[in-house]
Symmetry: C2
Subunit: 229 residues, 2 copies
């Protein structure tokens, strides 16, 4: 057919070339978006846009969004500053690690939700687990109790903060829930009526309630140690 001068290939791409992407770059960008805009800001499309590319480009390095979530979660755990090993008694280390996790989830909007809905698979998740197991071991909690106990502790942290941040996320109108309990018929729900203040924890700092839960679980674990193997 009739050709132009030399058949100069006109690139259909908008930009001529680009430094290549990478797995790590994608995860870091996703995490930064999560920090800045919360979970709604961390979508495949927005990550791609932040990297100045299209969403389909990400699928070379990541199987799907769910998998990326797991990587981001593990990357976030990498930010954890765990207390030095052999630094103070085991309880200080145990609670110190869990409180560090607490603060991490608290200060990154949307990270708590991510923690609840994805199981992080990566070396940083292993590090946290190992750290907890180590402290529990020193406490004399071993084997099954230790393995399940570490899981229970981590569940507790993420669940606690997921609920705590649900108001900030606008997920649930907290006043409406409070109203449901407040208007509960004292005849049908006498205990609820009596425990109003405690349920919504009066003026108590969230940190105190969190700490209370840690104590409860720990005491339970120590108790279970005595009961059976």
């Amino acid at each position: 057919m009739i050709n132009g001068p030399k058949r100069t290939i006109i690139s259909r791409r908008a930009r001529p070339a680009k430094e290549p992407l990478s797995h790590e770059q994608i995860v870091q960008t996703a995490y930064r978006l999560l920090e800045d805009e919360g979970l709604p800001g961390m979508t495949m499309r927005k990550i791609a846009k932040a990297l100045d590319t299209g969403p389909s480009s990400l699928y070379v390095y990541v199987k799907n969004a769910q998998e990326l979530n797991a990587y981001v979660m593990d990357y976030a755990l990498g930010q954890l500053q765990l207390p030095q090993e052999h630094d103070g008694p085991w309880k200080t280390r145990l609670f110190g690690a869990l409180e560090a996790y607490f603060e991490l989830l608290q200060h990154r909007p949307g990270l708590a939700e991510l923690a609840v809905t994805t199981i992080p698979a990566g070396v940083n998740a292993l590090s946290l687990t190992e750290y907890l197991l180590s402290a529990l071991h020193e406490a004399g909690i071993v084997s099954r109790s230790a393995a399940w106990g570490a899981d229970l502790f981590m569940f507790y942290v993420s669940s606690f903060l997921y609920e705590k941040t649900s108001e900030a996320r606008g997920t649930m109108p907290m006043p409406l829930i409070q109203e449901t309990y407040r208007s509960a018929d004292p005849a049908r729900f006498p205990h609820i009526a009596r425990l109003q203040q405690e349920i919504f924890s009066g003026n108590i700092e969230a940190r105190e309630r969190f700490r209370w839960g840690l104590e409860v679980i720990l005491q339970g674990l120590l108790q279970a140690k005595q009961d059976n193997a």
Copy 2:
């Protein structure tokens, strides 16, 4: 302007009339879809289709999807068969109620995910809470410990089942996670390497592990009762 014969108004609606919708009808339909197809089956559009209408029609009775989730969750709690009050010792009633909750979440695909991500606001949630508070009261666990303890128990149930059903939902490829732990460097992660079997709980029934957690939390609560007020 020039008119046709009589300006017969041609309805733009496909159907001439319909029996009206209702809040309850919508919630029930949503719950049925949740039972049949899991959480992905319970979308505004699919609920509307099941009711033979359009999605916008639902917004007369429900503010948004999130609110509908809360109603559906509470409706699901209404299906709970709690042990008779004053039927057996308090521990039997306490664990009986929590295990009934356990089974409810276990048998309805997607309900565990719903339980984790929404705070049910309704009379059925109140009933469950009241029931737990009553049993805890009889155990001598009162006030702050009772209020927070009931919450902790319910968290535990939904978190436990959310993780347990995450494989069935295809959310996380369980073998991949297991592989992460199995291939953990024994030098860096000695405790993890040693506790392989316990972490993935060998051949242990999920029910047994669940029950273990209930015991731990309960023992912790009983212990905390002695320690402070």
